[in-house]
């Protein structure tokens, strides 16, 4: 049995033939499209390493069946930097040392982008911590991650202010 879906991934429209209905968005990205920036840490929606944006909202790609996403717009870590220029969140993660091994990092960054887009956490560190708590880190880079998210949020808000 094969299924066809059309996805827009990082701005590129892709017609995908799924040979197997069990394929998750995560395994589609990693094993079939070779977009391996998105990581598999648990395959159970418990660690957040596979966080991507689907239609602007952050989700665990391991919990979404690819076949259910016909027409969706997917943004992965590979789509964040444009023309070799890092997004604000990405450069903030580097500056604040918001990672060590780097394995949870794509998920942390996509989650941070989603959190900032949601616009609910404000500049309250406790709410940012809460809003990032679906993304586990085992190295213990939490302090740098939260600093990076707060800093990036401030910078993004500043840029919007200027634009307005």
């Amino acid at each position: 049995m094969s299924l066809s879906v059309t996805l827009t991934i990082n701005g590129d429209r892709k017609d995908v033939v799924l040979e197997d209905p069990r394929v998750t968005l995560l395994d589609l990205l990693r094993e079939r499209l070779h977009l391996t920036g998105t990581k598999k840490g648990c395959d159970r929606g418990q660690c957040g390493a596979c966080t991507v944006l689907v239609d602007g909202r952050r989700i665990n790609a391991c919990l979404a069946l690819a076949a259910s996403l016909d027409g969706a717009e997917v943004m992965t870590i590979e789509g964040l930097a444009v023309g070799g220029r890092l997004a604000t969140v990405q450069s903030a993660f580097i500056e604040h040392d918001g990672f060590q091994c780097g394995f949870c990092t794509p998920g942390q960054i996509m989650s941070a982008v989603g959190l900032i887009l949601e616009g609910d956490a404000g500049d309250d560190p406790d709410r940012v911590r809460e809003g990032m708590s679906g993304n586990l880190c085992r190295c213990g880079a939490h302090a740098g991650i939260i600093e990076a998210v707060l800093d990036a949020q401030k910078r993004v808000a500043g840029e919007e202010g200027k634009a307005a």
Binding site: E19, D20, R22, V23, D27, R30, E31, H34, L35, T36, G37, T38, K39, K40, G41, C42, D43, R44, Q46, C47, A49, T76, I77, E78, L80, A81, L86, Q90, S91, F93, I94, E95, D97, F99, Q100, C101, G102, F103, C104, T105, P106, I109, D126, V128, R129, E130, M132, S133, N135, L136, C137, R138, C139, G140, A141, H142, A143, G144, I145, I146
Partner: protein, 750 residues
């Protein structure tokens, strides 16, 4: 009097890189998703492998429905003990000091839950996964032996990696008899699983008798030889790539059954094979921290000075191999006592074999010792910090040797000041916040050895004035790509941007083991020595060349900086590296170096990193919910190459301490022997909301004995001290002394 020794500046001259808080050189790759971890590789014609694991903990596999699995579309092969060719070495034998016995389908026996019992290979991951489900194993089950009281106790011959199980110094009986106060107390720590965010993974591809493997590894060249030995090929036939590890924490230093099976399958089927463990299989064949039961007796005089310190620890291990968490050794080197006696026992249970897990022994032992010391301080009625100062060890308590450097007093003082420790009420339950939560402050001392291993490195100066430096180091997040490049750049007198650093593959000089908090010291020393060797050779050429402005200076009369050799006494005389090479007709010049410790220094001095950790907790008096609200650590760990990365390492350790104190515990069902919380929903590690405001102070410490660079490690020490500091803060908040980790809500209410 400060107990630090001035660093002799003539010994090593540092350039512009070391000491700078550079951001990670691999940062761009890691924030863009371009850093390639093992499972990100996908060679052509790839097969996917999934391990089928046992659901019983003891017995044997009677049957597997191989036909059903093979009938599933996409399944290519099922490997079981019936068709698995033998390895060149017996996996039930011990091979080398770091060799562990493992399960690679050598027979039908089951000796722990989550043990590999078959391997399914398929064209897709989905098919391979389904194939394992279709195997429907039938077992002959024997009762599982789980927990200290159901296992088989025995006296281990060694603890940790080759350590002695027992230690005695001084007269314990006399020390106990002389005591004005005696604390006799017991602590328990649970089994913990490393759970690096990156599950163990491997992509294996054979080309005749040569093997290429992508797999995260903490000891790249050592492991190359081990893999080669199991497949009967020379080490140089194995090419192991491990540029990035998604965390390791000890679990990726050793060979385990799943990786071996994947290589086995790739050879059988003559196709590349990828295997990435599902999260639940991280709770079986790839090591863990054994549970401990510890009894401590602290005898003190009326003023709180130890007259005897006794620490007995019993740890769990598997039925078929041994790694005994050396918890009692935590009492050897920290507090002065005329008598110290430590013992280790072991209990065999039906789990996978434990292994080194971030601060093996030091973490568990410190978790008990730091609390026991607070129990003594409370019994005598003195402040916990004062208690530690009264027992400050001026020389190593275990050997009587001087410390190579020890700035623990400065750690106590600066940590306490930063935290605001002064004025802490002695009695518990004295402080509350505006919301009515109980507030407590606690502290602990941190200690970790500063070992050196063996490493080699190569440094090549190139005609264009840049350099190539090479060593097979492993970066599992500690920052080897950056810190080691900083060291190498300084050794060559070059800007870091002019240095190309090759690392992380087995074709390079042996970078040693990323473990024991000794990797930067060891691989860094090798790189430093390689760079120095290259510069010395270059100087030899220049000072003997009449055409060089440095002619006649003598090779001790020049120094290297900014890509040039300079006359030490005449700044107008200098020459660029490229010019020296060009005139002598050389395209490049190679230096080599090794890292290791002068055996005389190792014998003469005790070498440790030290620290002090202060914690504030808030406890809901009705619900027992604990929140750590502040953590301040102060650490003296010799010369810090990169303060930004060192601080991250220390934070990481402190967060592991918080996790040890409040979160982590693997629970095995006593009937089946299965881990019931083998996932990241049930096996708790802290989330962002659990992590408080943190500070890690880096205390200056010049250590001229520890190694040529004055470097100690920072990867593991942060756990020690932190566990006890949090437990002590909980006691201070609530008046409840909990002696079993992790500390839970139910321990604090009712």
């Amino acid at each position: 009097m400060p107990d630090t020794i001035p660093f002799p500046s003539a010994q090593v001259r540092f350039g512009s890189s070391s000491g700078q808080p550079l951001t990670r050189r691999d940062g761009f790759l890691k924030v863009t998703g371009a850093a390639t971890f093992a499972a990100d590789n996908h060679p052509e014609n790839l097969l996917h492998a999934v391990v089928a694991v046992s659901t019983i903990a003891r017995g044997r596999v009677v049957s597997l429905d191989v036909e059903a699995a093979k009938a599933h579309p996409g399944v290519v092969e099922v490997i079981t003990p019936a068709n698995c060719p033998p390895l060149a070495l017996d996996p039930d034998e011990k091979h080398g000091l770091f060799g562990f016995r493992f399960d690679a389908l050598q027979n039908d026996r089951v000796r722990y839950a989550k043990q590999p019992i078959a391997l399914v290979l398929a064209e897709t991951l989905e098919a391979a996964t389904e194939g394992t489900r279709l195997l429907a194993p039938v077992y002959e089950t024997e009762p599982a032996r789980i927990g200290f009281d159901n296992g088989e106790p025995y006296a281990p011959a060694t603890v940790g990696v080759g350590g002695a199980p027992d230690f005695d110094r001084g007269d314990l009986a006399a020390g106990l008899a002389a005591a004005a106060h005696l604390v006799d107390t017991e602590y328990e720590t649970p089994a913990q699983y490393h759970n690096a965010m990156e599950p163990h993974a491997i992509v294996a591809e054979w080309d005749g008798d040569t093997l290429t493997i992508d797999t995260p590894n903490q000891a790249i060249v050592l492991s190359r030889a081990a893999y080669a030995a199991f497949f009967g090929i020379p080490p140089e036939n194995v090419y192991l790539r491990s540029p990035f590890l998604g965390g390791g924490f000890g679990s990726k230093a050793i060979l385990a059954g799943p990786q071996i099976l994947c290589i086995r399958a790739a050879r059988m089927l003559q196709r590349p094979v990828k295997l990435a463990l599902p999260r639940d299989q991280m709770f079986g064949p790839v090591g863990h921290r054994g549970a401990t039961r510890q009894r401590l007796r602290l005898a003190t005089d009326a003023e709180g000075r130890l007259t005897a310190l006794e620490h007995h620890a019993v740890a769990t291990t598997s039925s078929f191999d041994e790694f005994i968490e050396p918890a009692a050794n935590a009492s050897h080197n920290l507090y002065a006592s005329p008598a110290i006696s430590t013992r280790h026992g072991a209990v065999r249970v039906d789990t996978g074999t434990p292994g080194p897990m971030r601060a093996p022994g030091e973490a568990s032992g410190s978790a008990a010792l730091e609390c026991a010391l607070d129990e003594a301080a409370a019994a005598i009625g003195i402040d916990p910090l004062e208690m530690r100062l009264r027992n400050y060890a001026e020389t190593d308590p275990a050997t009587g040797r001087p410390f190579s450097a020890k700035a623990l007093r400065e750690c106590y003082a600066q940590g306490a000041e930063r935290f605001g420790w002064a004025g802490r009420p002695l009695a518990p339950r004295q402080m509350t916040d505006d919301a009515g939560r109980l507030v407590g402050w606690g502290m602990g001392s941190a200690l970790f050895p500063a070992p050196m291993f063996q490493a080699e490195a190569r440094a090549t100066l190139r005609a264009d004035g840049t350099a190539l430096v090479e060593t097979a180091a492993a970066d599992m997040g500690q920052g080897a790509w950056t810190a080691l490049a900083q060291i190498a750049a300084d050794s060559l007198g070059l800007d870091i941007e002019q240095v190309e650093f090759r690392s992380g593959t087995s074709d390079l000089p042996d970078g040693g083991v990323a473990g024991g908090s000794g990797h930067t010291a060891t691989a860094g020393s090798a790189l430093h020595n390689a760079g120095t060797d290259a510069i010395a050779k270059l100087a030899e050429i220049a000072v003997n060349d009449p055409a060089s402005p440095l002619f006649g200076a003598g090779n001790a009369g020049v120094e290297a900086r900014e890509g040039r050799l300079w006359h030490r006494e005449d700044e107008t005389r200098s020459e660029g590296y490229g010019d020296i090479l060009a005139r002598s007709g050389m395209e490049s010049l190679e230096g080599s170096g090794t890292g290791g410790r002068d055996p005389a220094d190792a014998e003469a001095r005790a070498m440790f990193s030290h620290g002090a950790v202060f914690a504030e907790v808030k406890v809901d008096p009705d619900l027992g919910q604990v929140l750590v609200t502040r953590l301040v650590g102060a650490f003296a760990a010799g010369r810090i190459i990169n303060p930004k990365l060192a601080r991250s390492q220390l934070y990481g350790g402190m967060i592991w301490g918080l996790s040890f104190a409040l979160h982590e515990e693997a629970i095995h069902d006593r009937r089946t022997g299965r881990p019931v919380n083998a996932d990241l929903a049930g096996y708790h590690i802290p989330v962002h909301a659990d992590i408080p405001a943190m500070e890690a102070l880096l205390i200056d410490e010049d250590d001229r004995y520890v190694n040529v660079l004055g470097i100690k490690g920072v990867g593991e020490i942060g756990i020690t001290g932190t566990v006890g500091a949090i437990a002590n803060a909980i006691w201070h908040a609530t008046g409840v002394r909990v002696r079993r980790y992790p500390i839970r809500i139910e321990d604090l209410i009712g």
